[in-house]
Amino acid sequence: MAPKRSQSRQKALRQSGATGRPRTPEAATTGGGASTQARRQPSRSYRKPKRSFWRGPYPYAGIIGVVVIVVLVVVIISHVNSGGTPNPGNVSQAVSKVTSVPESVFNDVGTGSLNSSQLPISAVKTPTTLTGSGGKPEVLYMGGEYCPYCAADRWVMLSALSRFGTFSGVKYMFSSSTDVYPNTPTFTFANASFSSPYVDFVMVEMYSRTEPTNGQPNLQQPTAEQQQLMSTYDSGGGIPFLLIGGKFVGSTPYSPADLAGKTQQQIASNLSDSSQQTTQDIIGNANLLTATICSVTNGSPSTVCQSPGVQKAGQLLGINPSS
């Protein structure tokens, strides 16, 4: 068996070209053997050492490339889904909850914890007829994003006026972080619109979240007529200013402190639960605002204006929302 194994080994060595002894005179003199031959006459079986995946710039380029591709795909998906316009996404979910509070909640809450001695809406002493550009009764809101009382009021306006029409373009906002009740969660009407067959709602967000030091509007400029209405019906010039059909004027509905520490989603989701304090605040005041709007729309729509919650609010205000 031994000679046979030796023959096999020699055959293998011959095939590989590494015989273990010099094959050329040069190789013999230098003593380089197979390695010298390989240097001068590379063997056909020679293979370059395999380059590691980790070497060079390829991993970095690969990772950056993947990141760029993923971000591009996400942006394209977003663009296609939104039809090329910015979509408020979760904002619309929260707004949807505020603008579609079940009628049963409005009726359960009624006037909430409001009492006749401290009503946030009152009849003006010298009423006028305030109509919008479409000839419908006008509700005028003038406020600012920095203002925490406006922040609290927007929840009321959003839920009450959505019973008369449809909002669009409402975005998230927080009141100023440096004012009282800092960072009260709310929305902004700065780029919002409202459409309704019953009432015109005019929204003027005069100030941004950063309160201007000079007191001048830095977001939306009120018209001269709006400024005149404000100075007539709100001599102190405080915001929020809410004028309903020239007949009622609103003030701060409830303490912004009740909204502190909650997210817009939490507040909006809680609006289906009439036992929540924020729901009592927002919906109780929304019924009050609804009752005054009903009184300037002559009780339209009747399904809203004749609802028990609105009727109860009307009693508290001493008005008849049905006519």
Partner: protein, 137 residues
């Protein structure tokens, strides 16, 4: 990598604190950028809980920093670099999900979140560098 992890941990702690304090982030508010809209979204919470995702983010940076510090202490085990690489890849995949929710669901970007995402990307690139160094050794 320890420095990157420390910065990331600091950002995660800040975002978590702001979440629990009910404060708002110092951030630009525009049509496309609104940190508070993102950090107050449903996607900002761990699925089915009220825990903000910045908490697992803190844990991730803590582990990442620990692994990096281990390598600095002396002779690092051979498994350390590959584990850190896998740890970073997992995080990057989650970052892809978060970018998707920001851009395609919430439609608003959070500057602070983007900073955290970039730190995770930097960690991954540094992990690759470590793998290269390991092969050279």
């Amino acid at each position: 990598m320890v420095l990157v992890s420390a910065i990331g941990l600091g950002l995660s702690i800040y975002l978590t604190t702001v979440h629990y304090d009910g404060q708002t982030l110092a951030c630009t508010v525009s049509t496309y950028v609104n940190c508070n809209a993102v950090t107050h979204s449903a996607q900002s919470l761990v699925l089915g809980t009220q825990v903000p995702i910045t908490v697992p983010g803190m844990f991730w940076f803590l582990v990442s920093g620990g692994l990096s510090a281990w390598a600095l202490l002396g002779r690092e085990p051979r498994w350390l670099a590959p584990v850190q690489l896998v740890w970073s890849v997992i995080a990057l995949l989650f970052v892809f999900y978060l970018v998707y929710t920001e851009v395609a669901v919430i439609h608003q970007i959070c500057e602070w979140c983007t900073a955290v995402h970039l730190l995770i990307l930097a960690t991954l690139l540094l992990s690759v560098r470590r793998m290269q160094t390991r092969e050279d050794a």
